[in-house]
Subunit: 377 residues, 2 copies
């Protein structure tokens, strides 16, 4: 029978314990009843998850591969997440580390609208990594934030992304801020075009508001001239992002921010593997760009975990189009050569708060970053 | 200056390390820039989080109390969650364990519509715990599920709750299932009333669909006769639940299910304390009933963690009305006397898959549970 498969890392001692845990996941994430009362026929044969494989991979560590039929899902992402790691997220020692979609899952959840390739066309940047200054801090006026947008866009930024903490506060309400910032980036792009530049900056507005307003706010941003939106699946749900990505009337790329998602990866025994969460799940949910904290910054991801994320964003085996990893979290311009060596060209390089030290001279810093990223300095 | 406060448990060695981590949280969850570039004036004085207190409470364990101004939040719950544990969720060794709201936060986020007291009026149950069979498994037809609803409601169940895995699958599509199940419970209630019973069963429909359809589906369920809705904040976001709870045109209680939330509590060093997540955060997000896995069932919560949850659901210091804890996760009727001793009357006692063993005789099991819960068997 056709099914998609999720591989879980199990922390378990004896083989019997691992077998029991694997069987528990298969029950828990589908029928959620004791095995002996699972109705025969359709429920047992199709809906119930099935253990496809179980192997010991280390001391007290097992990999269990569990198959699920799309009938247990339906066509909405919340229930797919339920099946992948709903109640099983509460079982001790269960960590989802790989999603292997079947054709039917791919058909129901096609993934990113643009992906890595699409971003080349949207920005006009034919080669090289993308430079992405982050607009902050919250509490600043819309005009102050827009000035930063203009200066960095004018100097050659590929994406000008709002901080995820810019929501809808009184200091810079969403609609006011987005209109002013989008206009500032449009002015910078017009000047770049006049100067013969074939690339342009995309302004990504941080969606600030209620979950049920995401589409309206995203469309408002688009109509105001934004080139993309930033969304936090850890706050709005993965489905909110996917709904935008699959909306026939919406046509901008979506950047996913990891806010509130830390606990899903920080314990080795629970949650998701780094590559699965920031690569596979983000692709499943339609992100074109997946932000994550780079190693060596303010957060504690390892180089290997970051490599796993980049690989999952790009793998041909994932859902839909390959997408762009976007390492950030306290990266400064002097880190760029090292980062380029690790992540290469299909990558959105975030530049954070350290840029604020430059004030009105931030354009010079952006140009220096561009040179560092292109390796010709 | 007025502020609300979040207490974090820090895993840190030396005092300097704890101080650094506390300061990092205050920055990370508000301005997200290095301390030396925080603009003076409004941003530094009001928006920036401030460390209100830091004390060592054990070997390598500290409590940091951080104050935030509502200006850093605005009026939407996603940004409040961002401030409470957004990027800080990715910092190693940071666990939010207490929310102390100020008057302004209480005004913006008033909490549950009904709470524990309101459920007494809605069900007509003046004293004693609430008995809540769970309708499952997914894959069953709408008619099969409705039959279970009828039998358990007729026998005296207070709440008949759909399993969170009943979403919108082909076997029992949401709208079809909810209409048939609500009618079945209405019939049982009519028969109870005819028999002189002053209590009634509330049918809680599991919201299956997309995040942006939550309100429409909830209103559909209400119009079909449902007495409440089940929602998973781990899939739809806390804001989706709060929007229903604050919607002037919606008037049913909301039950929160913990699916996908496990990683937020399972590591002692990350996420949320049990009481904060399943008590304080659920109250903040407007839940009237908070489901969590009881100790001794399929999941690994301890008796102390469960007591912490019940206490946070009921504390006078929490947001809005006291709400009902709802322990479940593999509870069987023979556990009820013990559970009653722990949780008392203001509690929704979930009865899971073991009821399916009773088939058409499930009514007798419900009556036995009622007797066990009332202590007169």
């Amino acid at each position: 029978m056709d099914c998609f498969a999720v591989t879980y890392r199990l922390a378990a001692g004896a083989p019997a314990e691992a077998e029991e845990l694997a069987a528990a996941i298969a029950l828990e994430d589908t029928v959620e009843i004791p095995r002996d009362v699972v109705p025969t026929g359709y429920v047992e044969d199709v809906v119930l998850g099935r253990v496809l494989g179980l192997e010991q991979v280390g001391d007290g560590v097992w990999h269990a591969r569990i198959g699920y039929h799309v009938d247990a899902v339906g066509r909405e992402l919340p229930q797919l997440v339920n099946v992948i790691l709903g109640n099983a997220s509460i079982l001790r020692g269960v960590r989802a580390i790989d999603l292997a979609p079947d054709a039917e899952l791919r058909a129901r959840f096609p993934g990113a609208r643009f992906g890595a390739e699409g971003l080349r066309a949207l920005t006009g940047r034919k080669t090289g990594g993308y430079l992405c200054p982050v607009v902050k801090p919250q509490g600043s006026s819309s005009e102050t934030l827009a000035r930063f947008c203009y200066l960095t866009a004018r100097a050659g930024a590929d994406i000008v992304k709002e901080d995820h903490g810019l929501a809808n506060q009184d200091a810079a309400p969403f609609r006011e801020r987005v209109a002013i910032a989008a206009a500032a980036v449009a002015r910078a792009n017009a000047e770049r075009a006049d100067a013969g530049d074939s690339t342009r900056a995309l302004y990504f507005a941080s969606i600030g508001g209620h979950g049920d307003q995401v589409r309206d706010l995203a469309c408002y941003a688009r109509d105001a001239g934004a080139g993309g939106v930033l969304l936090m699946p850890g706050l709005f749900g993965f489905d909110a992002m996917n709904r935008l990505a699959q909306d026939a009337d919406f046509d901008l790329p979506v950047m996913a921010h990891p806010s509130h998602l830390g606990p899903y990866v920080l314990s080795p025994d629970q949650g998701y593997g780094h590559g699965m969460l920031f690569g596979q799940m983000m692709r499943l949910a339609g992100a074109d760009i997946s932000v994550f904290p780079n190693h060596g910054g303010r957060f504690g991801f390892s180089p290997e975990e970051c490599a796993e994320i980049a690989s999952a964003c790009r793998s041909g085996a994932g859902i839909g189009r390959a997408i762009l990893p976007s390492p950030g979290g306290g990266m400064s311009p002097d880190r760029l050569p090292d980062m380029r060596a690790q992540y290469g060209s299909d990558c959105v390089y975030l530049l954070g708060g350290s840029l604020l030290r430059e004030g009105e001279e931030v354009g010079a810093a952006i140009r220096a970053c561009r040179a560092a990223l292109d390796g010709d300095d």
